[in-house]
Amino acid sequence: MVAHLLRLKLTLLRNSVRRSPWQLVGLGIGALYALGVVGVLAAGLLVLRGQEIELAQTVVVLGGATALLGWAIIPVAVSAADMTLDPARFTTFAVPMPQLLAGLALGGLIGIPGIATSLVALATVGTWSRSLPAAGGAMAGAVLGVLSCVVLSKVVTTATAGLASSRRFKDISAVAFLIPLVLTGPIVAGIARGIAGSGDFLAGLAQTLSWTPAGAAFALGGELAAGNYAAAAVKFLIAVATLAGLGLAWKVLLQRALVTPPYAGTSKRRTGGAGLFRLLPATPSAAVAARSLYYWLRDPRYAGALVVVPLLPVLMLFQGSQSGFYGPFQFVGPLTAFLLAWSISTDVSYDSTAFALHVATGVRGADDRLGRALACLSFALPVVLIFSVGPFFFTGDWEKLPAVLGLALGVLFTGLGLASVISARYTVSVPLPGDSPFKKPPGNVAQTLAVQFGGMAVLMVLVAPEVALVAAQFITGSAVPGWITLVLGPVLGLALFATGVRAGGAWLDRRGPELLAQLAVNR
């Protein structure tokens, strides 16, 4: 039965690859990336073989504890738990519980994260191949540790399945996860400095962890290498008890989950009345704008983009304070303008087949385009203005403000105009409505990349006058090109914005049904 479940998992994996060659490409890229990470970590672990026992022990134990933490948190945080062998699908088959658990646990190892973790864990055997008992202990520790990782992950996902299937939780966790992701640079820098400052602290932490379920398994090799047989025996018991305890918890949770399937409809959000539809004028374009604004707030795929925006200046200010060079920080305004304007280039793709309502009601293309652009502009304009002026309070380089402001406004208006044309003509593959923003979208990756990069190249050409003028000021030091930019940016930008809305609208009027057909492919 266990072999049967493993075969099922492999078959499912093979069929998903067979569905489209792009799946295989994605899997290949993921595998290559994982292979690189595994290679570096394994090499590091082998180098540790020649180092002092205490240092090696600290690294291995902390690494093991980190792996355990990652397996527990990541599947929940990105709502990307591997559900190919969802236990709920086996309820009607009366599979004996022990076999089901063993099969699911081993099945969890099949896949890139499972294989990568196993390989790195096995590399610790190399670290401790200083004596036979040490290597044997490391081997036992690796097996116990990896199994604990997988079972812990199952415990967490099973326990939070009810929570995770509620839409509110999915929406919030998907967006919240972005924050540490964006701030990875500063966080890593901070941790690295912390480590450099307190080597003793880490050794102490590893020593403590090695007596807890988090680190006992991966401490076995080190204790045996140091000859602490009594400590090794106790830690072995702790590791075995950990795995057994996790297994028992999983069994109980699973037994309960199988007879009480998660109910997704518990947390209903209520809103009062027609809201923005009442506040904005009663025209089709204003209605489109109101609808778009609700999506910016309520759809995590849009909200994700909004969360990044306030973090952007923080990130660039941090970089500036690290290097003492605030050059990039001055351009946070134009950069934000680009990000926000460009975000509506995927607007119709985000609608998915809900766009059928626009086709069915026969709303004019220009109204559709204008509404979406105005919704974005309503918050992008103040944000871009603030971000353009803000950095100069830090740098004091006020004579460059007109140039930066002109460039930012030019990029914002031009970008919105171009995005209005692009999203009227091309669909790109994006996560479907209701999916996590991180979920791999279905569809043609090549077209997505071509449209996105092609569009950005066109945008570069369209804002070339502003860029050239800004460059002229930075090179010559003369203030004149800056003032010209301040006038030219908004004027040229607004002209291109109007052109884009009209051209995109005409395109929609002509080819709305074809666009809908393209969207229906990926639904």
Partner: protein
């Protein structure tokens, strides 16, 4: 493909609510709709029935301006859907099957949105939304996001979005799917009154009993062609619609075997 010239409507024959002439659509190698011609008289309650994959949804999408046909024309009250889409769409209310809704809006907001997109004024939209939600038993869930609706409620809110502008022709693709019996009865009442006052309804379904009871006209579609069309009495020719349907479409397999299923 044979292309029949359109018959000019004489003084005795009023303009049909929907007139399809040789509609055809091919997806890759598969011919989904193979030249469908159909006249839906104004004021009729018209059922379109057919097995899965018969081309019902494709035909209705082409008739309503959602999917461009490879061949053929569709006229709504004499207005060509593909030559004058904006005029034609004003006359139609559409409930498409298998498309998403803007489900991050509340039910009330979604129907309001559909009304405003059609250029209706605010007061009329507001009063109609309230009435529609009450009539479709959605009054208590007006403020709930559509994404949190059940399948049946979602169907009903999509129906409300199709009704908001008081169209002359309603095209409803599988309107009763996963709708509970009480709501289905309410929807049938609404549609019956709508037809009685001169509106035209086209529904697709594969529930034969429902079509036989509800509709006065029916077309049987299979393999992208019309097998029979006319009044329900004409089509069923004395038999029940279900028997007649099975007879027309074929494909029932009378295999013996599965004896082991009775051995326990």
């Amino acid at each position: 493909m044979t292309f029949q010239p359109p018959v000019p409507p004489g003084p005795s024959s009023p303009v049909p609510a929907l007139s399809l002439l040789g509609l055809a659509k091919r997806f890759g190698d598969k011919i989904a709709v193979d030249g469908i011609s159909l006249d839906v008289p104004a004021g009729s309650f018209y059922g379109v029935v057919g097995p899965n994959g018969a081309g019902k949804t494709t035909t209705l999408s082409m008739a309503t301006g959602l999917l461009r046909p490879d061949f053929g024309t569709a006229l709504v009250h004499g207005v060509d859907v593909w030559q004058h889409p904006l005029e034609a769409k004003k006359l139609m209310g559409i409930l498409p099957d298998g498309v998403r809704l803007f489900d991050r809006l509340s039910g009330e907001q979604l129907v309001t949105y559909a009304g405003l997109l059609r250029g209706m004024d605010r007061e009329m939209v507001a009063s109609r939304v309230a009435e529609l939600l009450a009539a479709l038993d959605l009054g208590n869930d007006a403020g709930t996001l559509v994404v949190d609706y059940s399948a049946g409620m979602t169907k009903k809110i999509a129906l409300a979005s199709a009704l908001i502008h008081a169209p002359r022709l309603l095209v409803l693709d599988e309107p009763f799917e996963s709708v509970d019996p009480i709501s289905a009865a309410n929807i049938r009442d609404i549609l019956d009154r709508y037809v009685a006052s001169g509106g035209t309804v086209i529904v697709s379904s594969h529930v034969m009993d429902l079509v036989q009871r509800m509709c006065d006209h029916v077309a049987v579609v299979a393999g992208g062609r019309v097998l029979a069309a006319g009044t329900v009495e004409e089509v069923r020719a004395g038999a029940s619609l279900e028997d007649r349907f099975v007879q027309l479409v074929g494909g029932r397999n009378h295999t013996e075997g599965l004896e082991w299923l009775r051995t326990f």
